[in-house]
Amino acid sequence: MADQTRNRREVAWRIFAREYNASRYVIKKEEEMAPSYVISPLGAMANRVYISGVVTEVENIGTDNEPFWRVRVTDPTGVFYLSAGQYQPEASKTISKLKVPSFVSVLGKTRTYTPEGGSMYVSILPETIVEADRSSRDLWILDTVKKTRERLNCITEALAMESPVEEELMEMGFPRVVANGALKAIEMYDKIPLEEFREMLLDPLRTLTEAEDEFLTAQATRGISEEESSLRKELLRLIEELDTNGEGAVYQELMEKVVELKMDRDETEDTITKLLDDGHLFEPVLGRLKRV
């Protein structure tokens, strides 16, 4: 068996942004060059991930000669943070030409960062980025829902066992890697919010079953006060209305409208910040706002 695993290529896990970003543990071996694995709350043991989504921001925080790219890729549950520099020449080349917004598929290595005294953050070091279309993005969502649900079910079963073992879970039909990951997650995480992750799957599925616009508005206004929700809706509507040439609504013009409509300026600015943070809006260029 040893020589069979020697040249084994690391699998790319299917995982949604929210689950990935909720990862708080990593398995690192002492030896140099030994692979490390991010353990997600549902037991993805990912050295590598494969994701698909919408590019909502591309920023060069390096120099023109030595670019260092930060990229945000949004899926229906949240945002993936990518960074690439000179050691990712292929990905960097593609990033420099990315249009915002556009669909991409990304194969990348998992990276972690733990600030002093803080909890761990994750990001992705892209190996390959390709422009995608809606159909392959949709197939990714479908595949990722299936696999997330499988992990969820496996953890649920394992938690119901007195002393769960991999073989038993496999006999129930769970793939080996899923059973193995589930046991790791149970060992590392005190409490896994299974219900939250189950609910998380609804949004991705709805992007596939509902018309896109309806969905995005519904998503941007779910779980917040009615007042704020109507403000969000109104802002999204205004931004779309002012976005006449597809390059986004000019912030100044939006604010003029806001004053004209006698909306509260401070509150509006806060809401715009929130919509930006949640990935419902982005700035294609400074001073312009656009819907995802």
Partner: protein, 330 residues
């Protein structure tokens, strides 16, 4: 419930075998007694724990069990399995100065296919259905293989015990991790995203003498030769459980490109760039969800499928999503 030494003795023997006779019986006995008599652990669980504690693999304890092809793995004993013999060939070999026969072939059930070797003449026939009792698996050329040996009994089954040959010949869908664990298998299918097209894909030139792909117009054995053009794909498919290397020949490559070799040669010469065919392949395959089928083997480079067919999966996403939405909402 306390167990006496006599009651434990056969189990100690079994554990000793599972640990390849590397641990002394009295050490096993002490451990097993502690688990069973001091801590009241059930015997099967205790045996598993003892083997694990001494660094062994408790799976070899597996009781005689009925398996399907896709849950076979290397190192199983007392395997009961039923399947249809798809191919069969006879060979002779010599042992202890005596000529003996062995039969090898492919056995299939609804879940997949596996190569087998029968170290005796069991009167097997191609196309017929059988039950093998007390067979075992081992690794052969990197793959898990089923073996029919001394203790194996073979029973003929009625023809309707298994799907007909035409149906069972279809390549069964397998998870890539399982496939890698098995070291490969004949005639299988996997589904996943194409996550890589490797260099050396597209238009290549082969040595007319040895068929090796030329590097910089030269063969590593035969030097400068007039290369024969060919098309191939070297890719990677990933199903979220494992990653599998793919090698596809001219026919599959032509169908993916929707261009034949002559057209590809023309395109490459017009663009004055042989790698333009690799670019075309990347465009058509990268990030696509595909199903591929073929034969899978393992060598020093990893586990690879020689692809017989590569198809884009056309699926009704909305339908599947609706179904899943119902299941998730519960």
């Amino acid at each position: 419930m306390s167990k006496t030494k006599e009651e434990l003795a056969p189990h100690i023997d079994e554990i000793k075998k599972a640990l390849k006779e590397e641990v002394k019986p009295h050490e096993i006995e002490t451990e097993l007694e502690t688990f069973v008599n001091t801590y009241g652990i059930s015997l099967p669980e205790a045996k598993r724990a003892v083997i694990k504690k001494f660094g062994g693999d408790p799976r070899v304890l597996s009781p005689k069990r009925t398996y399907t092809v896709n849950d076979l793995r290397t190192g199983l004993f007392r395997v009961d399995i039923q399947g249809r013999v798809l191919t069969l060939s006879k060979r002779t070999y010599e042992r202890d100065g005596q000529e003996r026969v062995l039969f090898s072939g492919i056995l299939a059930d609804e879940t997949g296919k596996i190569e087998f070797t029968a170290w005796d003449d069991y009167g097997l026939e191609e196309g017929k259905a059988y039950r093998f009792s007390n067979s075992y698996t081992k690794q052969w050329r990197g793959r898990t293989q089923l073996n029919l040996g001394n203790n194996t009994t073979v029973t003929s089954l009625s023809d309707d015990a298994l799907p007909p040959v035409e149906e069972i010949q279809q390549d069964a869908l397998m998870n890539i991790d399982r496939l890698i664990q098995m070291g490969g298998a004949p005639g299988v299918k996997v589904e996943g995203f194409i996550v890589g097209i490797r260099n050396g894909s597209g238009l290549v030139f082969r040595c007319p003498e040895c068929n090796r792909v030329l590097q910089k117009k030269s063969c590593m054995i035969h030097g400068n030769v007039e290369g024969k053009p060919d098309l191939r794909i070297k890719g990677i498919v990933d199903d979220g459980y494992g990653a599998l290397y793919l090698i596809a020949g001219r026919e599959v490559t032509e169908s993916v490109l929707d261009h034949d070799l002559d057209q590809c040669l023309k395109i490459a010469s017009e663009r004055m760039d042989p790698s333009s065919i690799q670019d075309m392949l990347e465009e058509r395959l990268m990030s696509r969800y595909v199903s591929v089928s073929g034969n899978v083997f393992t060598d020093d480079y990893g586990t690879t499928m020689l692809v017989n067919a590569l198809n884009h999966e056309s699926r009704d996403v909305k339908d599947e999503a609706n179904e899943m939405l119902e299941a998730v909402e519960g």
